[in-house]
């Protein structure tokens, strides 16, 4: 039976391999499993952007883009299978949308010379391009997020957090643990008291954590959650009447899925972001015209304009721009993954270019360099308006405390480099 399936699989791979005349963007999506509510809009946004530029601009530099979707279900084993089955098709850049899969793919993509973009997730110290040659996490990472939340609170409290109590409610996994060290450093620097409340996967059971919050009465709660954990946390916060405006989530805890179940009680909940929210951009008219009206919308087509859809759109835009940059550098339209990596390292996003693309002020302007794969780390804050059912940007993209973050990045990437004998990438 094994051998029969084997020949079947070989035949399938052969049948599926097309002529190599398009730019392949694999999308390791998860439309099923416990985190599907977050995975679907992101995958839709990612796919729709490429459909749109294929229809509107005739692809990137005249070459059509092809999105190769592979379902991971947020599962690392399926992630490996997806990676191995798509890399042979000329995959230009991987975006696994899972911190667990990212950790696995960092050495693999480096060995296979394929870049990976982990936008706002993954291994934070990958921002150090000197060590992580093929991993990019611009424009912002988890530690920027932690620092951004504290900067925002500093602003609100007149620059002083001494004696304040801040609780971190986090997904008890690699993802949720990322900000702890940064927050501890910041707590020492600004004199606030930090308490840590882990929530185990998938996060449906949080009674004890919120009971503790009710008892300790922290001034602010920061949340690093994903999937169903977010909705439950917001509902529990509402149940203990924790003031929503003192509750800040990371960007993965700030979508419509998270706040809608709590209804009016979620009004005032805040979340960090590194890109704009809402659908008030010219690009959405293009998507409507070229993708939705043409009947090519990915998925059910009902996610357009949601926070995570916009994030997928933004990720696709950055990938397409990097591909365009790579075409410029190497003077060929049909780029390889290695060329794509050079394009990502030389990526320059300006306000003028974003306006040209129909996305004015959609994200910050920034440059990527060999030493800095992490971008500028500018963090904005959004707030949920339950009455109007929409997120509003209440604090514009502001710089974060790199004095605290940079030494942490250097230390963590340094230990990775010594553990794995990695030579300097930037000469």
């Amino acid at each position: 039976m094994k051998y029969k399936l084997g020949t079947a699989a070989v035949a399938a791979l052969m049948a599926a391999s097309p002529v190599m005349a398009d730019l392949v963007f694999p999308s390791l999506s998860y439309r099923t499993g416990p985190y599907a509510a977050g995975g679907i809009p992101f995958a839709d946004g990612y796919a729709d952007y490429f459909s749109m530029i294929n229809a509107r601009d005739g692809g990137i530099g005249g070459v059509a883009a092809r999105v190769l979707e592979c379902e991971t279900g947020y599962n690392t084993e399926k992630g490996v299978e997806c990676y191995e089955s798509t890399k042979g098709e000329g995959a230009l850049v991987y975006q696994p949308l899972s911190t667990g899969i990212t950790y696995q793919l960092i050495p693999k993509t480096t060995a296979d010379n394929i870049p990976m973009h982990t936008m706002g997730y993954g291994r934070t110290s990958a921002a150090n391009g000197d060590v992580f040659s093929h991993t990019f996490n611009y424009p912002a990472n988890y530690w920027n997020g932690a620092s951004g939340a504290i900067s925002y609170l500093l602003n609100e409290n007149g620059g002083d957090l001494k004696g304040k109590k801040i609780a971190l409610v986090y997904h008890n996994s690699a993802y949720g643990k990322e900000p702890i060290r940064t927050l501890e450093e910041l707590a020492a620097k600004h004199g606030f008291e930090l308490s840590l409340l882990p929530v185990d996967h998938p996060g449906q059971e949080q009674k004890s954590q919120w009971l503790q919050i009710r008892r300790d009465r922290p001034d602010n709660v920061i949340m690093y959650g994903w999937g169903v954990m977010n909705q439950v946390a917001i509902q529990e916060a509402a149940n203990i009447r924790f003031p929503m405006e003192n509750f800040i989530g990371i960007w993965w805890s700030g979508s419509e899925n998270d706040v809608l179940p709590a209804g009016a009680a979620a009004n005032g909940y805040k979340a960090l972001t590194f890109h704009a929210v809402g659908d008030d951009f010219p690009v959405f008219a293009d998507i409507q015209k070229h993708v939705v009206d043409a009947g090519n919308a990915a998925g059910a087509g009902d996610q357009i304009g949601t926070v995570l859809y916009n994030r997928g759109l933004y990720a696709a835009m950055l990938a397409a721009e990097a591909a365009r940059t790579a075409q410029g550098i190497h003077g060929t339209a049909d780029i390889t993954p290695a060329m794509m990596r050079d394009g990502m390292e030389a990526l320059e996003i300006t306000e003028a270019r974003m306006t040209e693309l129909g996305m004015p002020n959609f994200g910050p302007s920034f440059n990527v360099s060999c030493a800095n794969h992490g971008g500028p780390g500018l963090i904005g804050v959004t707030q949920w308006d339950a009455g109007a059912s929409e997120w509003k940007l209440i604090s514009n993209f502001a710089a974060t405390d790199m004095d605290v973050i940079q030494p942490l990045i250097d230390a963590d990437s340094g230990s990775y480099a010594t553990e794995n004998n990695i030579a300097s990438n930037c000469k």
Binding site: M1, K2, L5, G6, A8, A9, A12, L13, A15, A16, S29, R31, T32, G33, A36, I40, E69, C70, E71, G73, N75, T76, E77, K78, V80, E81, E84, S85, K87, G88, T99, G100, Y103, Q104, I106, P107, K108, T110, A111, R123, T124, S125, N172, S173, A174, Y175, K177, E178, I180, R181, D200, H201, G299, L408, D412, E419, N420, N421
Partner: protein, 358 residues
């Protein structure tokens, strides 16, 4: 006609009790080994190794381990995921503490450490039985996952709590890390599979295995005829955990390369391995392989048929996969409660009589 004992005369006791009494079967077995060792390594690429062969081989070891405990000794365990985690974390600590040792030593030591932990959690089996023991091993599962998440020493104080396998070698060939060759990782795992199957087969047909089976069939009767339940149960836990630990070590270091305990070794893993031995066949070494192959290959095959051939949306195929696998499990349990191994046995009996069934 060709599948017969006829003409094959055994002249010694070892020959009489060999694993494959039929000549054709024996040659088939040698042929499979030959292909696995000398042919496949030259043909495979990264996709074949990482998507099909490594998971199949590693889950086979885990299934053999669990089969010894559940199938042969009758002690229901839901702690497989936790014991695999012990193997993985032991291997990680050994790899980072003693970088110069060979990978084989790390994996074997990781198995040994897991055996010790397994014995510890096997102690309650002397007092509690059946479903209650399942609950006790379930506690082991949750406790071990919690432990590896909670104590930073186990993950060398890394910021995220992930463990990543550094580059390690065996006889100068890279086995772990990113710069490995498909054939090297494949052969490395195959070595452990053959070793485990060989040990397991010979343990289960010897006096140790008979004691386990006596305990499984009726523990009071076994005790009366002189089987020491303490020793029988604890050796079953030790041997089983040893294999499960080896599979966990390989799963982390060779197959995935980076692991997060809650995601990779959660309760779903325990159930997955349990389903493998139930579908494959309890109390059968072949069943362990068949069950592992079934549950590893079926999703990949369904994905290739659904997504690559028929072009269906990925989410529909993923949902369909759950439906098909679930339905097949139910059908199997109803139509053939003794699993794939029993189908194989029946097929062999039929073959022996063929073409004159009467």
């Amino acid at each position: 006609m060709f599948y017969r004992e006829a003409g094959d005369f055994n002249t010694s006791y070892p020959e009489d009790s060999q694993t494959f009494p039929i000549k054709f079967d024996r040659w088939r077995y040698y042929a499979v080994l030959f292909v696995a060792i000398f042919v496949i390594p030259f043909l495979i690429n990264d996709y074949w190794v990482n998507s099909i062969f490594l998971p199949f081989l590693i889950y086979s070891i885990a299934a053999i381990g669990l089969n010894i405990l559940v199938g042969y000794c009758g002690q229901v365990s839901l702690g497989t995921g936790g014991f695999m985690a012990v193997g993985a974390y032991a291997c990680y600590k050994l790899m980072t503490s003693f970088p110069d040792l060979s990978m084989v030593v790390h994996v074997l030591l990781a198995g040994g450490i897991t055996a010790g932990v397994g014995v510890l959690f096997g102690l309650p089996s002397l007092r509690i039985k059946g479903f209650y023991l399942a609950v006790a091993t379930l506690a082991a599962q949750f406790f071990l996952v919690w432990l590896f998440n909670r104590v930073p020493w186990f993950y060398n104080y890394s910021a995220s709590g992930q463990i990543s396998a550094p580059e390690r070698t065996f006889l100068g060939v890279n086995i772990t890390g990113s710069n490995t060759d498909a054939w090297a990782t494949y052969l490395f795992c195959l070595f452990f599979v053959i070793l485990s199957a060989y040990i397991a087969r010979n343990l289960t047909r010897g006096s140790v295995g008979r004691k386990w089976m006596a305990i499984r069939d009726m523990d009071i009767a076994a005790e009366i005829i002189g089987v020491n339940p303490l020793r029988a149960k604890l050796t079953a836990f030790a041997v089983s955990s040893f294999f499960v630990g080896i599979s966990g070590a390989l799963f982390f270091s060779v197959y995935l390369g980076a692991v997060e305990v809650g995601e990779a070794f959660g309760i779903t893993k325990s159930f997955l391995v349990l389903f493998m031995i139930i579908i494959g066949g309890l109390g059968s070494i072949f069943g362990s392989f068949a069950g592992a192959a079934f549950l590893v290959l079926l999703p990949v095959a369904l994905k290739i048929i659904g997504v690559d051939w028929l072009g269906w949306p990925t989410d529909i195929v993923a949902h369909l996969q759950l439906v098909v696998v679930g339905a097949l499990i139910i059908i199997f349990l109803i139509a053939e409660p003794h699993g794939l191994a029993q189908l194989w046995r029946v097929a062999k009996e039929k073959l022996r009589l063929w073409p004159f069934p009467h």
